[in-house]
Amino acid sequence: MTNRKAEILILCEDLQQEVFARSCLIAYGFNRRKIRSLKSPKGKGAGSQFVLESFPNEVRVYRSRSANLALFLVVLIDADNYTHRERLSHLENTLINAGLAPRMLEEKIAVFIPKRNIETWIHYSMHEVVNEENIYPKLSNQSDCKPYLENLIAQCREDRLIDPPPSLQHGRAELRRIL
């Protein structure tokens, strides 16, 4: 019999975010077979709505099952034109609207909000100087970011990121929730 039990749920907008998050988690030492990815099953451009709609239920599921399973919930949503704080509020509001308590510090729920979007972090990892206003080009193959992520993770681990975009700094703080 097979024995897979997912313990790390990645909730994200699209395949690029999924590859980025999954590769980072594997580089951090998470078992790839324990990872379950839930990206928008809809077409392109519908990703942030999918994350906002799915978030409260995934938090509910996390809370109801984390007593029995060592669960982690990893959420990615692009900031797009919003600030980091505004995007976080969007997620928090979905919890309030669903009658759920806000995220607690001890809960292993990490929310990553790249600004403007995941490509900013990817291009930063590729040693480019980035800002959070420009829109950086998408990679033709999502996996092309992978060779750079181990180095990014190593820099995160050792707290030696050089001039990272502010949203990535927030991301480092979120990472501590699940490590």
């Binding site: 097979t2 590769s23 928008s40 099953p41 077409g43 519908a46």
Partner: protein
């Protein structure tokens, strides 16, 4: 990497072109849309290049029923060996009769000819592009298959070997798999019924066998190891050993054909991932998700996706499964469709698709590309 396939006058494929620009590509479509026909013709080309006769491979019923042409044409573009190969094959059918022959077969490398085989006469070109000899050739078979490898035709030999060894076209059917093998076989057959013989060949490389075993220990509760057990002089059976925590290290061996259909398919799927470290392979997988437990599809798929993304392999997958559709379709999905007695046509998934419903749900409702 297989970059382009052009097929004309084969079943539902008429003037059909599939350009592949991603390391992993998902082919979707209703039953009868013509998806598997693409793999079928690739298998026929592969068999021809391995030396089988035209008469053994191509059937009169292969020709598109509503066409009058007696020529079946295939073109392939394959990047590899630091360049781009273009291969053209045309099979000619005799009217009324059942005889077939190679009408022409041509191969180029970086737009420079390597072979022009036409009407039974083969014009050869050396690797240095100089004009080589002209031979009369038996047009009941491929000239490429018949040519021995030499020092001045390494480019042609690479193409032949790549198509034979590194193009794997599989529709796994666990029903006909046996648990025994008489000898190791380097090629996995199209239905994977010779898996035990193939694994016997694979396991000659201990590092590779170890890696596959390690992967399977992650996948299956209690999976311990494979073991070949000799029966008589030439037959050996593959046993798969499992242990349980209660029994300590004691394992029980099951013949491979005693395992469930799903277990056998998963073992093959992970064995396929295991060989990808040996070179660049193109995997054409027809519904690999069949028989596989829902919880096991995504871990295997993401492993394959990663290997393809790292440039270690190419995968062309046919699937109806929502897990694959929702993971891949919006980025690398291609929709095939056709009307009754009409040719297969390709539609890319447009940006507008799936704004309101998951792509798998659009497929389930028959609304895709409406």
């Amino acid at each position: 990497m297989l970059n382009r396939i052009y097929i004309d006058n084969f079943k539902s494929l008429v003037n059909f072109e599939l350009v592949i620009d991603k390391p992993i590509q998902l082919l979707m479509g209703a039953n009868g849309a013509g998806k598997s026909n693409i793999f079928e013709i690739l298998l026929k080309v592969q068999s021809l290049l391995e030396g089988k006769k035209v008469q053994e491979i191509f059937l009169f019923s292969d020709l598109t029923r509503w066409q009058n042409s007696l020529f079946l044409t295939i073109e392939l573009e394959i990047s590899g060996n630091n360049g781009l190969y273009k291969y053209e094959l045309s099979i000619g059918y005799e009217p009324e009769g059942r005889k077939k022959r190679v009408d022409h077969e041509r191969l180029w490398f970086n737009s420079k000819p390597l072979l022009n085989f036409e009407k039974g006469e083969a014009h050869l070109y050396r690797d240095d592009q100089s004009v080589g000899p002209v031979y009369p050739f038996d047009w009941s078979q491929s000239a490429i298959a018949a040519l021995p490898s030499r020092n001045d035709n390494k480019l042609l030999t690479w193409f032949k070997e790549h198509l034979s060894d590194n193009l794997i076209i599989i529709k796994i059917n666990p029903i006909n798999m046996t648990g025994e093998s008489e000898r190791g076989e380097a090629k996995l057959k199209a239905n994977a019924e010779n898996f035990v013989s193939w694994y016997s060949f694979l396991s000659e490389n201990q590092g590779r066998a170890f890696e596959i075993t390690q992967q399977l220990r992650d996948v299956f509760n209690g999976f311990s190891h494979f073991q070949f057990v000799q029966f008589g002089e030439s037959i050996k059976a593959l046993r798969v050993h499992f242990s349980s925590e209660e029994d300590g290290n004691r394992t029980i061996g099951y013949r491979f054909d005693e395992l469930s259909d799903g277990q056998r398919v998963l073992i093959i799927l992970y064995a396929l991932l295991g060989i990808l470290k040996d070179g660049f392979f193109t995997l054409c997988l027809d519904e690999p998700d069949n028989y596989v437990a829902l919880s096991e599809i995504q871990p295997w798929l993401t492993s394959l996706f990663d290997l393809c993304g790292e440039g270690k392999a190419q995968a062309i997958i046919i699937s109806h499964h929502p897990e694959l559709i929702n993971y891949l379709a919006s980025d690398v999905g291609v929709w095939l469709e056709r009307q009754s007695n009409r040719p297969t046509r390709i539609k890319r998934i447009s940006e507008e698709e799936g704004k309101d419903l998951p792509l798998s749900e659009l497929v389930a409702r028959g609304w895709i590309n409406d």
